[in-house]
């Protein structure tokens, strides 16, 4: 776990001294607005818009708008978590392959659950979740650690200090663990979608190696509780 990164620092500085610190590689002037992709907003008649939405629309007439990144989609099926996960799975910029693997994974989850659903007796059918997106989100949520560890050096010795995690960091860790687990601990001939769907279903039920890893991390944080005062942020 790294010390507070340059991003966090620059964000705080930016709030304090506006228009001085750029965020990461963004070179846009702060007056630029984010692109609005939600189609429903544009289809609403002007009377039904709330105050904020009306202000936003008026601003758009005056201010310039940033270019929409290629990953931003107006499709009804687009999901930012799924896109993020796909990007993390991608290797050497092969987005086509990553995306196809992702869709095959979701399809595999759906097929497994549907088979179970159709074979189950009537009273158990309600309990079986068949929506792969719901399973994906819930599995990732279950894999997210609450507390993390950070290496801090004091007097020549490095201590593992328990530290609270931001939401982004939690999401990142969950996805990273999932992908690493599926890449390393599978048989040579198993396909990635198959293994991923297996792990996601296990995580959805709070079982499996990734949940174990999360528990191990929590236990270590609990064990190193004494060093918590080393944290200064």
């Amino acid at each position: 776990m790294a010390a507070p990164s340059a991003v966090g620092l620059s964000r705080r500085l930016r709030a304090w001294l506006p228009r001085i610190m750029p965020v990461r590689w963004s070179r846009y002037d702060p007056s630029y607005l984010e692109p609005e992709v939600n189609k429903e907003l544009y289809q609403k008649p002007p009377e039904k818009l709330t105050e904020e939405e009306r202000e936003q629309m008026e601003l758009k007439a005056v201010r310039p708008i940033k270019a929409a990144p290629p990953t931003l989609s107006s499709s009804v099926f687009s999901d930012p978590m799924v896109s993020k996960f796909t990007n993390m799975m991608m290797k050497n910029g092969n987005k086509v392959l990553a995306r196809s693997l992702m869709s095959q994974t979701l399809e595999a989850i759906k097929r497994k659950q549907l088979e179970k659903y159709h074979k189950a007796p009537e009273n158990e059918k309600e309990a079986i979740e068949c929506n792969p997106y719901v399973i994906f989100h819930q599995a990732l949520k279950n894999c997210q650690p609450i507390i993390g560890l950070s290496s801090i050096t004091r007097g020549g010795k490095t201590y593992q200090v328990p530290v609270p995690l931001t939401d982004n960091r939690k999401r990142f860790l969950a996805m990273k663990w999932l992908i690493t687990e599926c890449r390393e601990n599978k048989h040579r001939r198993t396909m990635m979608p198959e293994k991923l769907s297996q792990e996601l279903l296990l995580a959805f039920n709070n079982e499996g190696p990734i949940i174990k890893k999360k528990h191990v991390l929590h236990k270590m944080a609990e064990a190193n509780r004494a060093y918590a005062h080393f944290r200064w942020w």
Binding site: V76, F77, R111, L114, Y133
Partner: protein, 344 residues
């Protein structure tokens, strides 16, 4: 409508066959999914259909949704009615199912085969002619004819399928003498069938999925690396121009030998169409049956079936945009692919 989708560059005109105009007489039936039961229903025990499902996609759909359902479409209905009404004293009529990729030719073929099987016809079915001319593991030189090669694995697989399909007829079909290899057995079976069909004891239906493979180049090579030409593949594969036997069958049928059965050929005709002239010559004259993409009604029917079986899980899958929106209406889209490509 079948006549509206033309085959581009088709060199041969429509055949002048004694069959009535296939475009008339079929009432406009509402396309609905009728179950083709694959597993025995405990309430109404029907025999299991041995017709193989054409592609792995359909197989996985059947496994996931737990039942095999077929959308009743116009080409399949036409074919069934034509076969029912066909005159068996005349020489055999050939039907060719053509269409673009993914429009449902193989499934229509399976539908028709199942219908005929239910009515008690004897089925001679080649599930995939392309599989025979490619990727063969064992290619042995033929035992009794030089320069011919056999494919024992595929021959034995086909024999097993044939047996499971036509078990009730095997007592009637006599004289399967002991043969040394599977390919020869296939040849013997075909010869026996030909002889017994002429006596009129049963109705035979010959269906080949991917008939254009028989007149294309083979992807097989011998041990020394030389490629195998069309005329050299197996005594058992008496289909098309491969072997003299089936050439005889074709000739016999067409000359009007008094055969009392109907034969129909089905082709997977990809776009652009197979320009092989020999194929056209051998198949001609035939009755073409076009299989178009799903019409809007068929799409709705398919979509509601998927919703009912809970295949479409995304909550946005039911709105207009989720179904494909403008793109679908512009193209008159494909039912199955739309449902899959938009969401998982």
């Amino acid at each position: 409508h079948p006549s509206e989708s033309p085959i581009p560059q088709c060199p041969k005109p429509q055949s002048q066959s004694p069959i009535p105009n296939p475009q008339s007489r079929i009432p406009d039936r509402r396309p609905d999914k009728r179950p083709v039961s694959q597993s025995p229903n405990p309430h109404n025990p029907k025999p299991q259909s041995p017709i193989p499902i054409p592609n792995p996609q359909s197989q996985s759909q059947i496994q996931t949704l737990g039942e095999a359902r077929v959308l009743v479409r116009r080409p399949a209905l036409e074919l069934l009615s034509l076969l029912k009404g066909s005159d068996f004293t005349r020489p055999a009529v050939r039907y060719l199912i053509y269409g673009e990729r993914g429009t449902g030719k193989s499934l229509s073929l399976s539908h028709v085969l199942h219908g005929c099987w239910r009515q008690g016809w004897l089925i001679l079915h080649v599930p995939d002619a392309h599989a025979w001319v490619r990727s063969c593991r064992e290619l042995l030189p033929s035992s009794h004819r030089r320069e011919r090669l056999e494919q024992p694995l595929q021959a034995s697989a086909w024999l097993r399928a044939f047996k499971s399909c036509n078990e009730r007829f095997l007592t009637e079909v006599r004289g399967l003498s002991r043969v040394r290899s599977a390919s020869d057995a296939v040849g013997v079976v075909l010869r026996e069938l030909r002889q017994q069909c002429q006596r009129g004891s049963f109705r035979l239906l010959v269906a080949v999925d991917g008939v254009n493979a028989l007149w294309g180049r083979t992807a097989l090579r011998r041990d020394d690396g030389t490629p195998v030409r069309k005329g050299q593949l197996g005594t058992g594969w008496d289909l098309g121009v491969f072997c003299v036997d089936f050439g005889c069958i074709l000739a016999v049928f067409w000359v009007g030998f008094g055969c009392i059965f109907a034969v129909f050929w089905v082709v997977f005709w990809p776009y652009p169409p197979d320009p092989s002239q020999e194929g056209f010559d051998a198949l001609d004259p035939f009755v073409p049956i076009a299989v178009p993409n799903y019409s809007p009604r068929e799409f709705e029917s398919c979509y509601s079936y998927y919703l009912e079986r809970r295949w479409l899980q995304h909550p946005n899958g039911q709105c207009w945009e989720g179904k494909g929106g403008e793109g679908r209406e512009g193209r008159g889209g494909r039912g199955r692919r739309e449902g899959r490509g938009g969401e998982a």
